[in-house]
Symmetry: C7
Subunit: 94 residues, 7 copies
Amino acid sequence: MNIRPLGDRVVIKRIEAEETTKSGIVLPGTAKEKPQEAEIVAVGPGGVVDGKEVRMEVKVGDRVLFSKYAGNEIKVEGVEYTILRQDDILAVVE
Amino acid sequence: MNIRPLGDRVVIKRIEAEETTKSGIVLPGTAKEKPQEAEIVAVGPGGVVDGKEVRMEVKVGDRVLFSKYAGNEIKVEGVEYTILRQDDILAVVE
Amino acid sequence: MNIRPLGDRVVIKRIEAEETTKSGIVLPGTAKEKPQEAEIVAVGPGGVVDGKEVRMEVKVGDRVLFSKYAGNEIKVEGVEYTILRQDDILAVVE
Amino acid sequence: MNIRPLGDRVVIKRIEAEETTKSGIVLPGTAKEKPQEAEIVAVGPGGVVDGKEVRMEVKVGDRVLFSKYAGNEIKVEGVEYTILRQDDILAVVE
Amino acid sequence: MNIRPLGDRVVIKRIEAEETTKSGIVLPGTAKEKPQEAEIVAVGPGGVVDGKEVRMEVKVGDRVLFSKYAGNEIKVEGVEYTILRQDDILAVVE
Amino acid sequence: MNIRPLGDRVVIKRIEAEETTKSGIVLPGTAKEKPQEAEIVAVGPGGVVDGKEVRMEVKVGDRVLFSKYAGNEIKVEGVEYTILRQDDILAVVE
Amino acid sequence: MNIRPLGDRVVIKRIEAEETTKSGIVLPGTAKEKPQEAEIVAVGPGGVVDGKEVRMEVKVGDRVLFSKYAGNEIKVEGVEYTILRQDDILAVVE
């Protein structure tokens, strides 16, 4: 992976429907915004972001839930990733 | 429960209408936003969230009232949960 | 009363028209937002709320004026209450 | 007067057109928001309001100009008052 | 002048077109918001305004440029004034 | 030049198309907001502006790029100027 | 390069499609905002920007991903550049 996110940003790789079923998490179709499951592939250094000290709480390899409307999508060597801020991550799946 | 919320987020499980009646709380249909009753099943660590120190005031097992438009819904092993920030919790039911 | 509000929230019980007359306060029908009279039945602990120190200035039993569009309504054992932030209370009636 | 405003709020009694003429102040009809003249009848304690230290600069009896769209109207024993924040007061008339 | 502005507010008296020509400043009619020239007739004390320390940089008698949409208009003894915050003053004309 | 800007404001004189060509900078017509080139003719003192310490980084004579929608236009002795905040200046052209 | 950006701004030169393919990064056409790849050609000094201490984390020569709607476009000696704030840079490509 050759993307180094800045500040409090992380790069995540979305986990597809089949994997989602394996981990027992289903993301239902409701009127509310639905979070999605992903694996973290790169983590920014944190530090002072927008004048506030941010400590990174996630690490590479963590499976996380995130809001599907958050962040920017990129494709590296044929694989799609999303770059988003740590604050857009809702929870770690353990 | 295998979801670990980040920062000041909590995971709650909505309490259905029958249980609501048992605890004596009824949520009437008015023009205002109606809070809903739920049980807390996971609590984030708190700490510095968006540059502010947040101390978690709720714990697993607490019954709480929350605004029904707050947070993100997920389904884990067939059970629906909501992930929301502690500040979206209005009160603890004792 | 079995509702413990979090942070700077309070629980109030609206005072009906008859009682309003007794205290000499009438809330006229104008184009502006009209405050309403209520009695405080529960007070949150205050403390750090949204990163700011909040000291609670009202106590259980106080009669207060509040903006009628503020807060969330609930019904406990047949009685309607409103949960709102202390900052939505305009004044104490003495 | 039996209304004790909270925080940086004050209670004012609007001064009618006749009195306005006496003090030599006329509030013309223009496209801009017009301030109105009033007398202060109660002053909140100030202190920490929304996380900021507020010192009250007005006192009971002051005649002030305020924006007519600010605050909430109430009627106590047949007299109309407005409850508003000190910051909505533009100037003291001396 | 019997108006004492509060906080960081000042009272100004707009300078009419003839005077504007004398000082060599013309305010052209363009699509952008046009500033206007005025003389300062009263200055608030400054101090802590909205939780921030404000030091007054203008004094009575200064000729200033200000945005014509800023502030509130009043008329005292037949003369029109505008009450506005110091931050709405763009520059002093010397 | 007889305009003294307040706080973090500066007064600039737009550079016309011919001069722009000489300095090698062309501002293309695209869908995005286009910056414009100008010379600084007056600089405010900086200091505490809106509760924040601002240090002026530009000086009289600097050629700068600024967003054409920023600031207020004035005309002094037949010459058009713009008064804008330092933060609306994008870069110095050297 | 004769453009010195102010504060936390940087000047970048967009990398065209051919180069993008070489680095293995493809920016897919989706409903979300797509980041673009660019090379940094000038970096502001950082320091106190809008009242917050900003440390520059990128340097001249870095290849970065940025949101294509961020910043202002300029053309210097026939070459197009974008001036944007460091916070609009998503990640460094290594």
